[in-house]
Symmetry: C2
Subunit: 327 residues, 2 copies
Amino acid sequence: MPNRKDLIVGVDLGGTSMRAMVVDTSYQILGEDKRRTQAKDRPRKLIEEIADLIEEAVDKAEVKWSAIRAVSIGAPGSVDPVQGVVRHAPNLGWHDVRLGSKLKEILGVPVLVENDVNVGVVGEHALGAAQGAHDVVGIFVGTGIGGGIMFHDELYDGTRGAAGELGHMVLQVDGPKCGCGRRGCAEALASRTAMERDVRAAIKKGRKSIVLDIMKERDQDRMTSRIIQLALRRRDPVMRQMMERAQYYLGILVANVVNLLDPECIVIGGGIADRMHEDFVKPIREVAWRHYLQQRDAQRIKILAGQLGDNAGGLGAVVLARHRLGS
Amino acid sequence: MPNRKDLIVGVDLGGTSMRAMVVDTSYQILGEDKRRTQAKDRPRKLIEEIADLIEEAVDKAEVKWSAIRAVSIGAPGSVDPVQGVVRHAPNLGWHDVRLGSKLKEILGVPVLVENDVNVGVVGEHALGAAQGAHDVVGIFVGTGIGGGIMFHDELYDGTRGAAGELGHMVLQVDGPKCGCGRRGCAEALASRTAMERDVRAAIKKGRKSIVLDIMKERDQDRMTSRIIQLALRRRDPVMRQMMERAQYYLGILVANVVNLLDPECIVIGGGIADRMHEDFVKPIREVAWRHYLQQRDAQRIKILAGQLGDNAGGLGAVVLARHRLGS
């Protein structure tokens, strides 16, 4: 049992669920805990809940608190990593919440805070699909579309800590309305939310689809990645069309990023990629290639599905903590 | 008269004209020469012409050849700066031309080669609008739209040397055809070429405009930046509409770059910006701001017209040469 102060707890704080994992120096997960995020709670209450989640994970890992060096959290929204403040997290209803210092008060160990997608990219860079690449862009497709950038093996936060918001790159001026209030953002064209909107609209227009039946069977009111996978397996034509459309837009998004940044590696993560892997990424890659301005050496830019799945965020948070605390 | 080997000749090699300037260590231009680019000539012939241009500039500067430390060229297209090779320059009809080594053979001094837009950004960063900023994106609007990126005060070339091609960022899937063969690129929506196409189409449809008259007066068969400026001064309604449309698309382009990279400074250069300055940039900035995902501290990201005008490329090439040769 590890006794030295060399374990770090990585926390993936999402809008719907949250997860803590106790990770050792060789990135083995010694114990973890997961629960639903009560996003309606006040920040104070939710922070107590996060502390409880972390303590539970430490209990399950069967290690002593004295072995915990730090806690590192990926939070959904814009973050000030230096102050440990969550600036704006719409999914949690948070504005300027001092997550770092408040958790530190409760737990008594250093607490680091970073954007959830950023830590996901750090995870895939250090331990997953993008190992060995120095310049990496991560694209996480879920309810929304988030991104993170690493240059020369370092996370790139931008001037205001707002870099990587490629879900709000406009691909279609005057396109469909986005959750952000603007039009034609990648997120409004290719996220799971956009696909669900298009599937429901097609069904309303009278097209035959089993997507709603599968949702009913599984008692889901939203079109999760699992539902998408099942509908595609049963060859639902509406689901297939909307998936192809989303993949087309994602291919354009990837090409826009490549034409601008020419990175070594683009990692596509999130729920759909985690389930479908190459079935999701291959059509995206093919559209992207056709839209590279410079065709020379097109294949040198790797476009890959994430490898860490659900663990990308938690493990990435731990990697980042080791890097920032020095190890 | 400088005798030590500390002068550098900066060359701005464009598709229509080319210019060489002899520059001292305090970035004073001691002499220069300019002529039309005979792009139809074979590479060998054009390279001899470039050598002649450089020798003429040195003569005009009234300095000895022994004072010339190096020649540094910004070339229009994709470039391998390490090998000094122009990989692909559509405007010149060049493919894999060993510009660096061939010019060195003729002139007997080291010759550096970089992309023309990249050297323009380096110039604005070191001596122009972006002084003091560390993370800078340059957008040059002319016949096409080019871009260059500096991270942490260094030019960022990308994995294949293809970074910065933001003229081919798709803003309007299925939009107008671009010179690159694809659709809806920024260049097909907001370059001078796109504006000219839209002005001509409006006139063909019967709208009243004096743009073609001004072109005839000035014996121009293309809608140059000067023509645009004159038409706007005379309040031509078609020109005004097409300019506003282009500025709108450029605003979206800037916002896409900001949402992805959150840089400190965006410099807008090229012929139109050089003539119109804030009249060109202000509406772009206003559209961009409305499309930032993160509104907080929006004004920290400076969006500025270039300050070096025509000299950005030549001076930037000299700055880059000093940096690469060490000084």
